[in-house]
């Protein structure tokens, strides 16, 4: 079976997915009891894994997507043992946007609906290499921006149609202002943040909550070996804030909260000073 055929079946299957709410009513999800059906894209990222543990402990239903089968298998086993009510996985390289529709349709079928989609895919890339070599810059933009946009387009329309769901998107404080140390990564996250702002503006009125998450530096595998990484936020603390934020009606959330203040200051610095700084 080739992938075009599968995409075909996925598209035709879509209208048969459960319609849980009357289209015109906005529902307060917080009042809803029972396990949440959560799709996690980029489930082996440090922040996603720590967040999934908290969901698993609550008994939520998880569909986990990642590129590496070995890593995904141990993460899925961990979630099962911790108490997730249901765990399914798919090994997919999300850089290939042609597979997205098929994957997402399969995921919502597997979960029998969708309450939360956590878009957590991302690469830090090699900042120095991306300054010199467009191939590296392209790789960063592809994963962090293009792939995320493709996923969110499908998910946004799916949720808007059903007037239900929360899209939680992992962006970064690095997207708030370009800095010489990682502006390619920063611009991929800036593009993502702006896209998500617009998507929220469009589908919030349809009863879909769209959340932009902007973590400061966090101690994970991604930031290993970075300067002063022992001062970074603990991933467990960040995960706890994320689970809270995803349960609330927030639009943009900085974790830890101090980064809201820091980034206000950073964005206020006049350009004629900023361009001389080593940030």
């Amino acid at each position: 079976m080739n992938s075009a055929q599968r995409t075909q079946t996925a598209t035709t299957a879509e209208p048969q997915l459960p319609l849980r709410y009357a289209p015109t009513i906005a529902v307060d999800d917080a009042a809803e009891a029972g396990p949440q059906r959560i799709l996690v894209l980029g489930a082996t990222s440090g922040i996603a894994e720590a967040t999934c543990r908290l969901w698993a402990e609550r008994g939520d239903h998880l569909f986990l997507v990642a590129r590496n089968a070995d890593k995904l298998n141990v993460v899925a086993a961990d979630m099962r043992v911790r108490g997730a009510g249901y765990v399914d996985t798919a090994v997919v390289d999300l850089d290939d946007t042609t597979k997205h529709a098929e994957l997402l349709a399969h995921a919502v079928n597997s979960l029998a609906g969708l309450d939360v989609a956590f878009v957590a895919l991302g690469v830090l890339g090699d900042a120095r290499e991306s300054e010199l070599n467009f191939a590296e810059a392209n790789r960063i933009l592809q994963t962090n921006f293009v792939s995320a946009v493709s996923l969110l387009t499908w998910l946004g329309n799916f949720c808007a149609q059903r007037h239900h769901g929360t899209l939680a998107v992992l962006s970064s404080v690095a997207g708030d202002r370009g800095r010489k140390s990682n502006y390619v990564y920063g611009s991929s996250k800036a593009g993502l943040s702006t896209f998500v702002d617009g998507l929220r503006n469009r589908i919030d009125r349809e009863g879909v909550r769209v959340l932009t998450i902007k973590p400061g530096p966090v101690k994970t595998a991604m930031t290993e070996g970075m300067r002063s990484s022992d001062k970074f936020a603990d991933v467990e603390t960040v995960a706890t804030s994320l689970v809270k934020a995803i349960g609330k009606r927030a639009g943009v959330v900085y974790v830890p909260g101090k980064w809201w203040i820091i980034m206000r200051v950073v964005t206020l610095i006049p350009e004629f000073i900023f361009k001389k700084l080593d940030l």
């Binding site: 070995d70 141990v74 086993a77 961990d78 043992v81 911790r82 595998a221």
Partner: protein, 449 residues
């Protein structure tokens, strides 16, 4: 071993709990099992997988080498709620296991005095607990684990499969390869509470009588005053407990909030302050015999309440001395060593006395052996502490005992090779890419006398 202040880096990247010795090293933290060979590829002066750095000396250090911290590799892989058999990646800490297991009605089969150690570290040092007399050491409760060598080969190890590798890795100080995951047989509990009793005693004879009297109690340990002489010589408190059989709520433990915030100045711990502490501690228990119900946290982990308590010993750090002497010479050896310590005038308030039972450890290099075990901390006073440690090591050897590598920073190559006669057999299982500062010190050429 001389006091190496000159080579001490200002801020070592990875410290052992004693903070002595302190070495520079490259850190390659591990998050995924399969990344191990890549993490240590190209390591010039060797590599060593490490956990939480709770061992005291240099078994978890490698001077100028590559350390591979494993705490990022901490996933639960399987749990059988009927049998209590838990499978987890080796970087998980015992604290994390307790957070998972206690609400489900299970407890660790054996626990050391801190819960901030990894599963892999507990196996690699074959740690023991207050219940050694009745359950043996940690390795006795590990049905199997997977060992990954530096070349990427994986071996399932148990008493049936690869039994020689199983025996070499338990107590193998992380030198046989990386333990990727392990199984642990948990014990059922119905309550967090411990039926606790504390009984004052004077002298080793009284201690041994108490031990005999309560030989059916699971957990026994004693605190001993090593400063007092004369009629208070070897006074102490015999503490015993067992899991309460009365069902009560099985909550998880809240995270500790107290952190010892700074390095205490070198003079903070002196004979006067420790003597005062010991007298207060001895008489804190007003009656000579108390009985109470106590939560498991203060019973098993009294010091875990204050994170970084080792800072109390200041920047120089501390030395620990821990021996196990077989019954034959246990009493005379312990009395002689206690006298030697009191005579030295080096203060120490963390002195622990207990007995080891007959259940043999499964590890080739395991520390526990039936007899008396004694442990205490010393502050580092270069001209006094090191010669004393040397003397105490020789006395231990004389009485047929051995010292504990996980607690040691001072034993010489000749002492080690006498304590652990199987070391040459063990070295056949050592991974060629792995080593530790401890191993280099106690097997290094030219150091054996």
């Amino acid at each position: 071993m001389p006091f190496e202040q000159q080579t001490t880096p200002i801020k070592p990247p990875f410290e052992s709990w004693g903070r002595y010795p302190a070495y520079d090293a490259t850190l390659k933290p591990l998050h995924w099992q399969g990344d191990f060979p890549a993490a240590i590829a190209g390591a010039i002066s060797g590599a060593l997988p490490v956990g939480m750095g709770r061992s005291y000396g240099d078994v978890c250090l490698l001077k100028e080498g590559t350390l591979v911290p494993t705490i990022g590799m901490n996933r639960l892989l399987d749990f059988n709620a009927e049998t209590g058999l838990l499978t987890a990646e080796a970087g998980i800490t015992l604290a994390q296991i307790l957070d998972f297991a206690v609400p489900r009605g299970y407890f660790l089969p054996v626990t050391p005095g801190t819960k901030y150690v990894t599963l892999g570290g507990a196996i690699a040092n074959d740690v023991h607990g207050k219940n050694h007399d009745v359950t043996g050491s940690f390795g006795n409760h590990v049905p199997c684990f997977e060992l990954m060598r530096s070349d990427g080969t994986r071996m399932l190890c148990s008493q049936r499969e690869n039994p020689d590798w199983f025996a070499a890795t338990i107590g193998g100080m992380g030198l046989t390869g990386l333990i990727t995951w392990a199984q642990l047989r948990l014990q059922p509990i119905v309550s967090r509470m411990i039926d606790y009793q504390g009984i004052q005693f004077h002298g080793i004879d009284e201690f041994l009588d108490l031990k005999k009297q309560y030989e059916n109690v699971a957990y026994t340990v004693s605190w001993v005053d090593c400063v007092s002489t004369g009629k208070n010589f070897a006074r102490g408190i015999f503490m015993l407990g067992d899991h309460s059989k009365v069902p009560s709520e099985l909550k998880t433990t809240p995270k500790p909030k107290l952190v010892f915030p700074f390095n205490a100045p070198g003079f903070a711990l002196n004979r006067a302050s420790v003597s005062l502490f010991n007298t207060l501690f001895f008489h804190k228990q007003m009656k000579s015999h108390v009985k109470m119900l106590q939560d498991y946290e203060p019973f098993f982990y009294p010091l875990d309440k204050v994170l970084h308590w080792n800072r109390m010993y200041g920047k120089r750090g501390l030395l620990q001395f821990q021996y196990a002497i077989p019954w034959e010479h246990a009493k005379e050896g312990t009395e002689a060593i206690l006298k030697e310590i009191a005579k030295s005038g080096l203060a120490s308030f963390l002195a622990v006395l207990k007995t080891f039972g007959d259940i043999p450890s499964l590890g080739m290099m395991s520390f526990p052996q039936a007899g008396i075990m004694f442990a205490l901390d010393f502050p580092i006073k270069p001209n006094v502490s090191f010669p004393l440690m040397q003397r105490l090591g020789d006395m231990t050897l004389e009485f047929g005992g051995r010292l504990y590598p996980a607690k040691d920073a001072c034993m010489t190559a000749s002492q080690f090779q006498a304590f652990y006669p199987k070391w040459q057999q063990f070295s056949k299982y050592k991974d060629p890419a792995l080593t530790s500062s401890f191993w280099e010190r106690v097997t290094g050429e030219g150091t054996a006398q």
